[in-house]
């Protein structure tokens, strides 16, 4: 058996695959954050709560309306997207032009309120959600047993990341978004409805979080705290990648997933810390993040 640092190579393959899957999640969530920060200059601390709401909407659609997993992939992000638009119009918009710190506090408060209300209603131990029939079971890859559902998650997340990147980098809408990020008054002068674009961007970011929530519902316990654990890691990913950088978020998300996976083999106790160690090192060497532009 081939060994690397005292661990069988075959085990490492498995952990790399798992790291990639978790990385897909990090990429998907940090992508939404990056998009929102890029255009609104808002550090969206409500992202974890929106992710959790996405999972709960998925559960609710099945429990109360009998709507299964596949339609939920579209419906839950839509519902949360609308909620995001409402949040942006009624609350976040009032802080436009102020220091980003205010937006951070506001969204953090929103997250606490949303999570508190959900806990009051559904408790903390969560609700069950089964893996869809078509994706249940697992395939033996030789070096590991890969659940079909996880394979689907990594593909779905990667496709979604690619699609968002293409929209922003290769379409006219994306060009307008990027232009508005640089100089909103000028874009508005050309006849573009910038306030509407800002609202839709926040809604799209929220929908991305909800999409992550739908993907997570069958794998994790659907409970009101599920976003809290993830959001801190996701913020680290955004900071390491460079605030507002789309490509940076995607690459860093996948990369950190893999680093975390390897830590779980060699020193599992440190697996929650390793991402922050990386963050410290990156910030010391490149204060703007790996892919960020120096201010």
């Amino acid at each position: 058996m081939v060994m690397i640092f005292g661990k069988p190579l075959i085990l490492l393959y498995g952990q790399l695959t798992l790291g990639l899957i978790n990385g897909a999640f990090y990429a998907l969530l940090s992508l939404g954050l990056a998009v929102i920060f890029g255009l609104l200059n808002v550090v969206n601390f409500a992202h974890g709560a929106l992710f959790m709401l996405g999972a709960f909407v998925t559960w609710g659609l099945l429990t109360y309306l009998g709507i299964g997993y596949w339609p939920s992939l579209v419906l839950a992000p839509l519902v949360i997207g609308v909620l995001g638009a409402v949040m942006q119009r009624t609350l976040i918009r009032r802080l436009a032009g102020l220091d980003p710190l205010y937006g951070l506090l506001l969204t953090f408060g929103c997250a606490l309120v949303i999570e508190g209300l959900m806990r009051n209603q559904f408790g903390s131990s969560g609700v069950p959600y089964a893996i869809p029939e078509a994706l249940s079971g697992a395939v033996n890859l030789g070096f590991m047993v890969l659940p079909r559902y996880r394979a689907w998650v990594v593909i779905a997340a990667a496709v979604m990341c690619l699609a968002v990147w293409l929209v922003i980098e290769r379409t006219r809408l994306g060009a307008l978004l990027r232009a508005a990020t640089e100089n909103a008054p000028l874009v508005q002068a050309f006849g573009v409805n910038v306030p509407r674009m800002v609202t839709l961007t926040y809604a799209a970011g929220a929908a991305l979080a909800a999409f992550g929530g739908v993907l997570a519902a069958p794998m994790n316990s659907v409970n009101p705290n599920m976003g809290t654990n993830l959001i801190i890691v996701v913020f680290a990913v955004v900071v390491i990648g460079g605030m507002g950088s789309i490509l940076g978020s995607i690459i860093t998300g996948f990369g950190l997933g893999i680093i975390e996976g390897l830590t779980k083999v060699y020193y599992p106790e440190g697996s929650a810390t390793v991402i922050f160690v990386v963050m410290v090192i990156v910030l010391l060497l490149r204060p703007a993040g790996l892919f960020g532009k120096a201010a």
């Binding site: 069988p8 075959i10 085990l11 498995g14 952990q15 798992l18 790291g19 899957i21 978790n22 508190g116 806990r119 559904f122 408790g123 903390s124 131990s125 969560g126 609700v127 069950p128 089964a130 893996i131 079971g137 697992a138 590991m144 047993v145 659940p147 559902y149 996880r150 069958p218 794998m219 994790n220 316990s221 409970n223 705290n225 599920m226 654990n229 993830l230 801190i232 996976g261 779980k264 083999v265 599992p268 106790e269 440190g270 697996s271 929650a272 810390t273």
Partner: protein
């Protein structure tokens, strides 16, 4: 000499002091301290508070007032110990109950010992509360790591599950549970092939550890964690096609409910209370259920009810002046009187503070076997009280004479 208004007011306040103090002595105050917003909210939380209040309501004959206050310790030892100090010193709390999360449970135990105040721990698992870190004013109700390990660990090995892999929460509770379980597994001739301890709290993906467990070929996956972590571990083990046995070393009926029977069926676990155990447990459940619509009582909730009830009986028997003076005096009286309540039946509290009740090994029913809401358990094995717990001589409690 001129008498100012301020002096008059001051004099009036001083004159009123003894009156206020007298009024306070007629009141016994109970503090429920637990996790009200985090991962252990459903296993304890508000339902524990409701069950303690239920006991106060049912305890009729007295000559003193009782009130119940509650606080959230957020699973942080410093916060828990801080609230305990404030309660005992300034808020007139005579007894603190529940306190899940072993690290917090022990921190509050140290405060109770220092201040000679009564402390009935229900929610924390650590067996050290009646062992190395015992105190004469501490009672431990419902369960501990030793009793769980003996019941779930020992019986699983006897049933053929002789090789184990542990997934362990990296804090005092997880490690003690793993240590105690390992003891019983090896005693029965089993072997532990490996273990992964993961950062707590903050881990929601257990697949990496499941993969390592699978690679060892262990017959049993032992989970030394609790609450949402246990739920996630089992859900993901199911997803990764874990076909061997899973022994959840600490699991409550609330966790089974969160998993759903299709995933949870067949699991074995240990509790000292189940709502559908006998007529008395069903009667208790019928009384509290209207107050806890989304959460049925588990052994922690039952312990908060029974512990409060027995405490009040002891206070009445002892007399309120003596009860106010010393927590050790109350707890000594609690130990001297046999316990009798709807949740645990007739039992007694041992010299080191441990409640001596039988432990039940339950298996989770299949969806077909379950006939109604929360009809989840069938009893596989009952360990009588005198065998279920750590022998008195092995605990290392300093005031126990052996």
């Amino acid at each position: 000499m001129t008498v100012s208004r301020r002096m008059l007011l001051g004099g009036a306040a001083v004159a009123a002091l003894p009156l206020r103090a007298r009024a306070q002595t007629a009141k016994i105050r109970i503090g429920v301290l637990n996790d009200q917003s985090g991962p252990y909210r459903d296993t304890g939380g508000l339902t524990s508070v409701i069950c303690a209040r239920q006991a106060v309501q049912e305890f009729a004959a007295r000559g003193f007032d009782v009130d119940v206050i509650a606080a959230d310790h957020q699973n942080k030892p410093d916060i828990g110990a801080g609230i305990a100090r404030q309660w005992y010193d300034r808020e007139g709390v005579d007894m603190i109950i529940d306190v899940p999360t072993s690290s917090v449970g022990l921190a509050v135990g140290a405060v109770a010992k220092e201040k000679d105040k009564a402390y009935v721990n229900v929610g924390a698992a650590t067996a050290d509360l009646t062992g190395k870190q015992c105190a004469p004013s501490i009672v431990h109700w419902s369960y501990d790591t030793y009793m769980l390990s003996k019941s779930t660990g020992g019986s699983t090995v006897k049933a053929g599950g002789d090789t184990w892999y542990f997934i362990t929460a990296d804090y005092v509770f997880g490690h003690q549970l793993q240590r105690d379980a390992t003891h019983f597994i090896e005693l029965e001739g089993g072997r532990v092939l490996g273990a992964s301890s993961y950062p707590f709290p903050g881990t929601s993906d257990f697949s990496a550890f499941l993969l390592q467990a699978q690679s060892t070929g262990a017959k049993v996956l032992g989970l030394c964690n609790a609450g949402a972590d246990t739920v996630n571990s089992i859900k993901q083990a199911h997803e990764f096609g874990w076909t061997a046995k899973i022994a959840a070393m600490l699991m409550f009926i609330t966790d089974v409910h969160a998993l759903g029977l299709p995933v949870a069926q067949g699991l074995t676990l240990t509790e000292s209370f189940y709502w559908d155990l006998n007529d008395r447990t069903r009667a208790f459940t019928d009384r509290v259920r209207p107050k806890t619509p989304n959460n049925w009582p588990n052994m922690i909730h039952a312990g908060c009810y029974a512990g409060t009830l027995h405490f009040l009986k002891a206070v009445q028997d002892l007399g309120i002046a003596e009860a106010k003076r010393s927590g050790t005096a109350i707890v000594n009286r609690m130990k001297a009187m046999p316990t009798d309540d709807d949740c645990f039946g007739k039992a007694y509290i041992r010299e080191d503070g441990l409640l001596m009740v039988p432990s039940y090994l339950f298996q989770v029913k299949t969806p077909a076997e379950s006939k109604g809401p929360w009809d989840y358990y069938k009893t596989v094995h009952t360990t009588p009280a005198d065998e279920a717990w750590r022998p008195l001589s092995e605990g290392g409690c300093y005031f126990v004479k052996t």
